[in-house]
């Protein structure tokens, strides 16, 4: 059973699968389901967490969590949309240590609040940075 089928069997309709190429699988996930899917990929299927990238779009802040299956040569990206203002999502760092810095960085630059993050301090910005300023957001006019 390959990865796509396993994910479909576990989550059913809650996850929207799309292959862009045989090596790139995109999953559209609701933000409530994201931690569960991430945990499934990491703990059950043994994927390696590469990084997460965020983009500020008109609709909201889009976050992609990229997981890579080293043995299968398959990149799985979980896509989720966080509506503005005050984007929030549950952190995956509690069970995925490697995501800690990645989430801190996104929190710094995009103002996304990661609920339940074990160490939600600044990472990349200077200490004298004021609260509520996020450089990578675009002006929305």
């Amino acid at each position: 059973m390959d990865v796509a089928e396993k994910i479909r069997a576990e989550f059913g309709e809650r996850v929207d699968l799309a292959f862009r190429s045989p090596k790139r699988l995109y999953l559209l996930v609701g933000k409530g389901d994201l931690p569960a899917v991430a945990r499934f990929l990491f703990a059950e299927l043994g994927a390696r967490f590469c990084t997460a990238s965020a983009v500020d779009t008109r609709a909201g802040i889009e976050i992609l969590y990229h997981f890579f299956f080293d043995q299968l040569s398959l990149m799985v990206s979980l896509r989720t949309l966080l509506p503005k203002p005050s984007p929030q999502i549950e952190s995956i760092a509690p069970f995925l240590k490697g995501a800690e810095w990645v989430e801190r960085e996104i929190a710094d630059l995009f103002g996304v609040e990661f609920l339940g993050h074990p160490d939600p301090r600044r990472l990349i910005l200077p200490d004298d940075w004021p609260e509520g300023e996020y450089p990578y957001l675009r002006s929305s006019d």
Partner: protein, 396 residues
């Protein structure tokens, strides 16, 4: 009694600035905090003002040591996005440059590691062996660092047949030197005492922290992007992934030394193949960048280098995300550092071969205390104001 020792941000151990705060009891590290961010140059934001072709030059300057890895990951992402095939000759050339860079980076690391444990002779000897590699780079690319060889869809410059003997010659000289170094390190009792069992990163921790590259392979995690998702010519040549089980600094050194042999092997095969292929045909043009996103990842000397590019169909990327290997590896430093002595901290940092230039590409600005959104002009304006302010504060 607990003492706090700051390491950095400017410290001779590190060619680059960063800041470790070590909490020590006597000589033992009981807690630590890592603060990065001294090297922000805002590259991800800057990338949005560059065309796709210019982008390659920008990412080349993320880091001087990985100055082929970032462009390769970047062009892979662009090719993934545009769906362009790369000519065969260009793929071999990419492999040659990438492996030469791996050799020079691993040797550089070995020298610095020798320097960190106060073994300056090793530093000098290894860097002497590294020097022919830089001369070779100058011969085939025109510069000792920052080679500008990569281009979306191929490579910018051909490696001519007349230069191939020079590559072979350097490889023939490097192999015995590397053998000598490997033996010297494995046999030296003092080095063994100093490196063995120091800064162990267990396999579980390695997986938990999602570390990459030699750091992961030294802890028994069998990953290598070159094999797992072959790019360039890595699926066309014979080589193997080096994995060690111990996870200590010695294992990391051994992984790098053995990888040097594999790199020499790869380069020799690529050179042989270049001899057979006709010169020319090194680039397929990318006619148009379609809207969408592309992911490129590549095995840099320090581990997986990850680039994500999103395009809206225009000339400029909408978002470029760079995840350098050190960004993944550095947090694991804490896991391998606690309980060790201060003298070993330097060595353990060296063990993951940190590269802060890569880690801290991005930066940000702020103004006032209420939440505000900025566009590019705002950012530039704010920056200039801030510059003025700082200049005034500094009295110049």
């Amino acid at each position: 009694m607990k003492t706090i020792i700051p390491i950095g941000p400017y410290h001779p151990l590190l060619e680059e600035p960063e800041f470790f705060k070590l909490v020590v009891e006597g000589e033992t590290v009981v807690d630590m905090d890592i603060r990065i961010g001294w090297n922000h140059r805002g590259i991800e934001k800057l990338a949005e003002t560059k065309t796709f072709d210019q982008l390659v030059f920008l990412v080349e300057r993320i880091c001087g040591i990985c100055s082929t890895s970032h462009p390769i990951a970047d062009v892979l992402a662009q090719e993934d996005l545009a769906g362009v095939e790369v000519p065969e000759r260009a793929q071999y050339i990419r492999s040659i440059v990438a492996e030469l860079e791996r050799l020079h980076s691993h040797l550089l690391w070995l020298g610095l590691a020798g320097h960190f444990i106060g073994y300056n002779t090793v530093f000098m000897w290894v860097w002497k062996y590294r020097e022919p590699l830089l001369d070779l780079f100058e011969l085939i690319t025109g510069n000792r660092n920052d080679y500008a060889m990569l281009r979306p869809g191929g490579v910018r410059r051909d490696i001519y047949k007349k230069d191939l003997p020079a590559i072979r010659k350097v490889m023939d000289e490097l192999e015995p030197a590397n053998e000598m170094l490997t033996k010297a390190i494995l046999d030296d009792p003092v080095l063994n005492a100093r490196l063995k069992g120091v800064g162990v990163l267990s396999k579980e921790d390695a997986i938990r922290y999602c570390v990459v590259g030699p750091t992961a392979r030294a802890s028994g995690v069998d990953i290598d992007v070159r094999r797992d998702e072959p790019y360039a010519a890595y699926d066309k040549v014979e080589w193997k992934v080096i994995v060690q089980e111990d996870g200590d600094v010695l294992a990391k050194a051994v992984v790098r030394l053995l990888e040097n042999f594999e790199s020499i092997k790869i380069i020799r095969q690529c050179v042989d193949r270049l001899e057979e292929l006709p010169e020319g045909n090194i680039w397929n043009p990318i006619p148009e960048m379609p809207p969408g996103e592309g992911i490129g990842h590549e095995e840099a000397p320090r581990g997986e280098c990850f680039h994500y590019i999103r395009s809206d169909g225009g000339n400029y990327p909408v978002r470029v995300k760079v995840r350098a290997p050190t960004f993944s590896n550095l947090p694991s430093f804490k896991a391998s550092c606690l309980g060790e002595t201060v003298s070993d901290v330097a060595l353990i940092t060296a063990g993951i071969d940190p590269c802060y230039c890569c880690t801290e590409r991005m930066a940000a600005v702020y103004d006032g205390s209420n939440r505000r959104l900025y566009d590019w002009q705002d950012l530039v304006r704010l920056s200039q104001e801030k510059t003025e302010k700082i200049r005034k504060e500094l009295g110049r």
